[in-house]
């Protein structure tokens, strides 16, 4: 946010209540795929409209997003694919690093945006109609995520696309775009990778005063045991610190996935402190009958997403979410969506929270206590 500092220093302070929208205040039009937010922040889309709504607009420019993987399921890949595809659709430069031998092959698995508007526009129209009838205070009880996205202006609808997970991204999107793929498998230390990231951001990132567009860096399974630098704890941390500062100074976004079980506890906490946005994903067992009774739409759920931390630049007030756990669902078996956990109505019970219902069938069958409200 170095660019943001310049105007604030020279201008005398007007009022502490004035809304400073530095980016929108400039006459430079924003490139596609970037949306301004409060406190001079700007967002790029995560590629999942419902996740953008949960995060208050998307991934903030200049943030390092960490996704904690589930060791048994590749759900983090869904987030990573959406993030990369969205960047490619917006023609934002992309750097992808993974411990695979040939990381470029991964581009073939990226999802394609829902091609015709015919498929999704009826859904949005319907939601917009509903939104007109419902008072704004009650929106949150009513599929808030879709509401907020659909009520945006026309040009902002393109800010985040729905991706069809069954269709691979067409070649026309990939060819000729600024995409770099790096294998981190054979890196004995991270110096080369660090330099590569630095060069990539220097080439493409926005310079002070002018907006060239946001860069996206996505790193998959960063601390995989097959990588040669795996045991060099401090070198990895130093790289992360450096990546964080590079991302901040160039106003890009980096998404990094890692497996928390592979790190020692103190190191894991250090990683988490370095993250601006910290998310974990978890698979759910297929045949958990107790859970199926407890939650509606259990059969459509593919996993759970937990948001642990959202640190915003330029603001000290913490970003408090209504809920931190969301279900990952596949809508029409195509689109990945995030939803609040909805508890199924249970006979004779006012309902107990998901977290409190560790006893499973017992809580769903018996009445809850007198303090339940």
């Amino acid at each position: 946010m170095a660019a943001a500092a310049a105007p604030t220093l020279t201008r005398p302070r007007v009022s502490s209540f004035s809304r400073s929208t530095q980016l929108s205040g400039l006459s430079i039009p924003l490139p596609p795929g970037i949306r301004t937010g409060p406190n001079s922040t700007a967002f790029v889309s995560s590629g999942i409209p419902t996740l953008d709504a949960i995060l208050g607009g998307g991934y903030c420019l200049g943030s390092l997003v960490m996704v904690m993987e589930d060791p048994d399921a590749p759900h983090h890949m869904l987030l990573l694919r959406s993030f990369m595809s969205q960047g490619i659709v917006h023609d934002q430069p992309l750097l992808y690093a993974s411990p695979a031998e040939e990381p470029r092959r991964f581009l073939g698995t990226l999802p394609s945006p829902a091609c015709s508007t015919a498929d999704k526009s009826p859904r949005r129209d319907r939601e917009e109609d509903k939104g007109l009838r419902i008072a704004w205070q009650y929106k949150k009880y009513f599929d808030e995520t879709h509401q907020s996205i659909s009520s945006r202006k026309d040009n902002e609808i393109e800010y985040s696309s729905d991706f069809d997970l069954r269709k691979p991204l067409q070649r026309q999107f990939i060819s000729g775009r600024k995409i770099e793929c790096i294998s981190i498998l054979k890196n004995s230390d991270l110096a080369a990778f660090h330099d590569r990231c630095g060069v990539f951001l220097n080439q493409h990132a926005r310079k002070e005063g002018s907006i060239l567009g946001a860069c996206r860096i996505s790193i998959q399974s960063f601390c995989a045991p097959q990588c040669e630098y795996f045991n060099q704890e401090w070198q990895v941390l130093s790289f992360l610190r450096s990546l964080r500062s590079m991302v901040k100074s160039s106003n890009s976004v980096a998404v990094l996935t890692f497996s928390p079980s592979l790190l020692p506890p103190s190191s894991l906490k250090r990683w988490q402190h370095l993250a601006d946005i910290l998310i974990s994903v978890r698979a759910i067992p297929d045949d958990d009958k107790d859970m199926a009774k407890l939650l509606t739409g259990y059969q459509d759920m593919v996993g759970l997403l937990n948001i642990h931390k959202i640190a915003r630049p330029n603001v000290q007030v913490p970003f408090i979410l209504d809920a931190t756990m969301f279900s990952m669902k596949l809508q029409k078996r195509k689109y990945l969506i995030m939803e609040c956990l909805n508890q199924a109505p249970v006979d004779g019970s006012g309902g107990s929270s998901y977290a409190a219902s560790g006893t499973g069938s017992c809580s769903s069958a018996s009445k809850t206590g007198p303090l339940d409200f």
Binding site: S20, W234, H273, V315
Partner: protein, 251 residues
């Protein structure tokens, strides 16, 4: 608002010589650092902010909302910002992997601080030095705890020599799994005032953001004996300040 704000200020009557702020992943203690920067500047004390975690514009915008402009004291040489986030200034970056150059991080930072202290100190008011945060300094030193402790030791001498005050921010959850966290033990031993920020056991809420424990060491009571004073608050962070209240006192 004014009454509730003074609750925290009452808990910190004198800011002491070494303050330690401890936070964790769930709740950031950055707001206390901003509050202290503001308080030092309002007392007309020169401030040096060593930032490993955030950029100048981040602090500047927050402090402006708190009613304190950083640019003006910076122009008057009353405020020095040491940007340790800048990749250009990161000592021991990718090239220096053997640890030879990394030992200098603590010492070079200490030298920079000394230089800044000399340039901005006045005979009237002592300098306040704030470090955000020490765990990142440990990373910058490639995990050499001894280097960080050496740095802290040098800082301690600066307290005695130049009558400076120090505020350190660190994350206590990093060290909770360690058997003998020497850095944390040293810090807690060194600190006159300890501020610990923790989340509520019941999770985060919109109106209560967490709880704050203030430990004042060496408080002299009427009889003249020295003891520690321990206070516990709930707090809510706002754009223009911190609202502190006793647990359960908000309807």
């Amino acid at each position: 608002m004014a009454g509730s704000r003074s609750l925290l200020d009452e808990a910190l009557p004198t800011l002491g010589k070494a303050l330690l702020i401890e936070d964790c992943v769930e709740t950031s203690g950055g707001f206390l650092l901003h509050h202290l920067v503001k308080r030092f500047l309002l007392c007309d004390r020169p401030v040096i902010l060593v930032a490993f975690a955030n950029t100048f514009s981040h602090y500047d915008r927050i402090l402006r909302k708190l009613g304190c402009n950083l640019a003006a004291p910076r122009d008057k040489n009353r405020f020095v910002f040491v940007d340790m986030l800048d990749p250009q200034l990161q000592v021991g970056n990718s090239g220096g992997t053997d640890g030879s150059a990394d030992g200098d991080v603590g010492f070079s930072l200490y030298e920079r601080i000394c230089k800044a202290v000399r340039s901005i100190s006045t005979e009237k008011n002592s300098v306040a030095i704030l470090v955000d945060d020490l765990s990142l300094m440990e990373v910058a030193c490639k995990g050499s705890v001894d280097d960080v402790i050496d740095f802290l030791h040098h800082c301690h001498t600066l307290i005695a020599e130049s009558d400076c005050s120090f505020v350190f921010l660190n994350h206590h959850d990093i060290y909770s799994s360690m058997e003998r966290p020497s850095l944390m033990l040293y810090l807690e031993y060194m600190a006159d005032v300890l501020l610990r920020v923790e989340p509520l056991a019941t999770g985060s809420a919109v109106d209560v953001h967490g709880q704050l424990t203030v430990l004042n060491r060496g408080v002299h009571d009427v009889a003249g004996t020295s003891r520690s004073k321990f206070q516990n608050f709930h707090y809510r962070v706002k754009e223009n300040g911190i609202e502190c209240f006793y647990p359960g006192s908000r309807g």
